[in-house]
Amino acid sequence: MSGQDSYDFDVAVVGAGPAGSVAAHQLAGAGHDVVLIERGSEPGSKNLSGGVLYGRALEAVFPDYLDDAPVERRITRNVVTFLNRGSRVAIDYSDDRLADPTNAVTVLRAKLDPWLAGRAEEAGAMLMPGVRVDAPLLDGSSRVIGVKAGEDELRTRVVVAADGVNSFLARAAGFRPAPEPHQLAVGVKAVVDLPAATIEERFGVAPGLGAAHAIVGDCTLGIGGGGFLYTNRESLSLGVVLRLDDLVKRGLESTEVFEHFLAHPGVAPFLEGGEVSEYGCHLVAEGGQAMMGRLAVDGMVLVGDAAGLTINSGLTVRGMDLAVGSGSVAATVVHDALEAGDTSLAALGRYEQALRDSWVGQDMATYAKAPAFLEEPRMYDGYGTLLADVLHGVFDLDTRPRRRLWRTALDTVRHSPLRTRDLVSDVWKGVRSL
């Protein structure tokens, strides 16, 4: 194309979530002309997440975020529960070390995202809210030279696609195929208001501190996925995440599963007396590394959910930290490309390697096999019941002579509908995947 003057901005960042706002902040801070385009009338108004942010990546960008950003509670208690019909088995992990340094916080995106975008603005980025970007603007050789929004075209040297899990930018022009239903899950959520003291009492946490519960099994009626229950300052974030292939296969309604979760005897006591202050839903990328396609094309890079960067390790569910990390890595590569005056694929393509070398890419690789492992239906039905049956054999002292734990466990496995071969194979796969 022609000379420098034909560009409206150096960079258009599409989407003011954590990935986009961090990228915009870093690039504007480095002196580039950045426009941060957001389809919501203000940042965060379209965004929703379960709510646990592993914040160390954000702290690297904004060292004061814990004091300054609107975060809810610092998570020091993590509970993973197999919730069966009539029984439950949990791992309940509390640790003072999770508060110092603070590892994870709960957030509400309609509050956090405006703060993040504000930081990008302070660094010099121009926020353009209420604008839906429809497609990348392409030149004759399929190079991205900006974005199209309705009748308007904005010409930029680089586009950073931070437009979320449905990324229409990534799909346009066939940069990436639409994800398969087994690579996606729908999160159905409610925010339930409760007084702070009630939350602290029910969840066993001190003021300012919080708990994150991950729940699998009967709470989703056995559908692949799980439930979550997180503490905010004066509310709970809770809901279910349902893998789309399994949801469709079972023919159940997502709202019906959500209502089952709310009423479940293992969940309901936490919510007693609370009122729903907001309902919502969001799509979750569950495919891990396998659903990541190309992350850079001529003139454009993909970050955050748009790049498919999420990890479900069975214990931790991550997305926002990877969004922040990828936004940061992308900004470094885009900065170098702009400085060198080359924003072709040859230059922007370095982002893929830089991301692979970063903790983001390394974690994606470490957990690459987790999605396939977690697609095994036994995770959502058989194992919770099996664990409860083993423990029932231990605790149910019915005056028959006791046997050692391993013998009780072996007998339980033998009498369960699960095959020993599957159990051994799942344990082995679990060890290698998680």
């Binding site: 389809r39 919501g40 009338s41 965060g44 108004s45 379209k46 965004n47 929703l48 997440s49 509400l108 995106r109 309609a110 509050k111 995202d113 809210p129 209420g130 604008v131 839906r132 429809d134 929004a149 309705g150 899990v165 449905n166 229409f168 639409a178 994800p179 239903p181 996606l184 729908v186 159905v188 409610a190 925010v191 339930v192 509310s235 789309l244 949801l247 469709v248 023919g251 159940l252 309604e253 997502s254 709202t255 959500f258 209502e259 709310l262 009423a263 919510l271 609370g274 009122e275 729903v276 202050s277 907001e278 309902y279 919502g280 839903c281 969001h282 799509l283």
Partner: protein, 95 residues
């Protein structure tokens, strides 16, 4: 709003800025041929979709929470779905 209410009540907690044009379009012929109606009705957490007495798919786009689940599972060709125009649609106050 009380916990045990239905989805209509839960949706009343959500703020929407409603556009006068729909961002969702159902291709009724393809939907009929592929059985899309039952799938769309089941998956949508906002109950945007319904089955009309004549078997066609009803669509109340104003209640859409913009998650994209319908697009991900709709049989090919049965649904055209994009985000509402900038500034319209759901406006989360908590998220």
């Amino acid at each position: 709003m009380k916990l045990r209410a239905g989805v209509r009540d839960r949706l009343s907690t959500v703020r929407f800025v409603t556009d006068d044009e729909s961002h969702i379009e159902v291709n009724q012929e393809v939907a009929k041929a592929t059985g899309a109606a039952a799938i769309l009705v089941a998956v949508c957490p906002a109950k945007v979709y319904s089955i009309r007495p004549d078997g066609s798919v009803g669509c109340e786009f104003a209640a859409c929470l913009e998650c994209g689940t319908c697009l991900a599972v709709a049989p090919e060709g049965s649904l055209t779905w994009h985000y509402p125009r900038g500034g319209f649609g759901v406006e989360y106050r908590q998220g």
